[in-house]
Symmetry: C2
Subunit: 276 residues, 2 copies
Amino acid sequence: MDPIKVMVNGLPGNMSTKAAEHILQDSSLKLISYALTGPKTEATETQIGSEAVRLIKPNERQQMIESIKKAEGMIICVDYTHPSAVNDNAAFYCENGLPFVMGTTGGDRTLLVKMVQESGIAAVIAPNMAKQIVAFQAMMEYAAETFPDVFKGYSLEIKESHQQGKADTSGTAKAMIGYFNRLGIPFTKDQIRMERDPEVQRSKWGIPDAYLNGHGWHTYSLRSEDGTVFFQFTHNVNGREIYARGTIDAIYYLAKKIDQGVKGRVFTMIDVLKGV
Amino acid sequence: MDPIKVMVNGLPGNMSTKAAEHILQDSSLKLISYALTGPKTEATETQIGSEAVRLIKPNERQQMIESIKKAEGMIICVDYTHPSAVNDNAAFYCENGLPFVMGTTGGDRTLLVKMVQESGIAAVIAPNMAKQIVAFQAMMEYAAETFPDVFKGYSLEIKESHQQGKADTSGTAKAMIGYFNRLGIPFTKDQIRMERDPEVQRSKWGIPDAYLNGHGWHTYSLRSEDGTVFFQFTHNVNGREIYARGTIDAIYYLAKKIDQGVKGRVFTMIDVLKGV
């Protein structure tokens, strides 16, 4: 079978680089040697392993994509760019018939979905590409729907640690609050204990030095009113490996859907996980 | 509304005593001042708070139950007896039209269910009355069904601690292994790390002295092959409070089902949790 051709946009960013490296190592995938980049990127090229990838600025992308498509045929795009670029990039993919995996967060998400639905392409759109975490969130959502208030009377503590650069509260932690609320525990996002200090992360949390600049550690602790029952759920991610793996799965899933002739459909990581 | 009349069998055992105390404190429930006990029990009476409960031996139970039913009318039985008594007690309940909540484990469980289905009564049968743990198991089962193999490549460690008297592996831990297997992780029950030494439980696990003789602590740890992702689920129960609370919920649920005229039906704690 011919390899699936993939263009990774957002290079030379960290996450897109990691995804491109994984694609390069997978013999069923072929990394296209072109990538969309932001208007402020100075480099014109980036190296992924032994491959040089030409970086394309927004003002030249329309012209370039036409010749790339002519040379390569069907291409899947992976997007790890910037929240400010989400909708503009999506419009570009839709107009040029480029199915895509959107790993970039932010932007107008409703509009994003609508664009795909009104287009002739299919896309996987996932604010979190980590399959195991997505599965855990789905478990929590299932519990919230099936057993509302089962933790009524319990107290909750949420602790999360992320690299210093991350200013906002973790999206995963916010989603989890919604599930805990439905499980009977009042809790607001101001009550999350956020850690952003590398010194504390190293000494108190035991986060390895190598990952102080890229990690997401979460712990949810529940205690019954009388103190006799204690539940704790932890998911700690170091680095970006888990997201790159999820991206690869999303690419395979999307390629299968394209083969089936699916158009105008948005898939989530839950769909990728279920594999149907 | 008249209180629901409840006979707690297995007194003066620890778990039945705890359940009886909860019933006594609940103004919507009335504790019947008679209880079935084992053939070896020497006492003829036991004290639950301010109430004296007469203990009934197997050889006198048929005669006694007839007069109790005459005096009290509809009664729900709660059974915290002994694995060896499960089927015999269930036969007694079925023959005498006594709906029951079976919290005792062991016995022939298939036969137990069959007896109820062929009888004119309804029962809640639950090897674990702890609602929150049952909900957690249901979450795991949902994940195993919905996302098979999502943790493929991960390694698993299971640690559990129970009071010294508990010789066998925890039933909850065994059920969890089944879910983890379906989630992609090979694991057998011999790999569970069981702790039964009170000294280690105190010093290494931090289990409070008061609960060394009655607790169930479980921790499941998952680590990705490359070591960058770590998940951990913990549920620690001290004492028997959580089971007593679940028992009360099961009684209310069963009373509702009886009111609806349900006969020959077995319910689980999942049904109780869902409340439908």
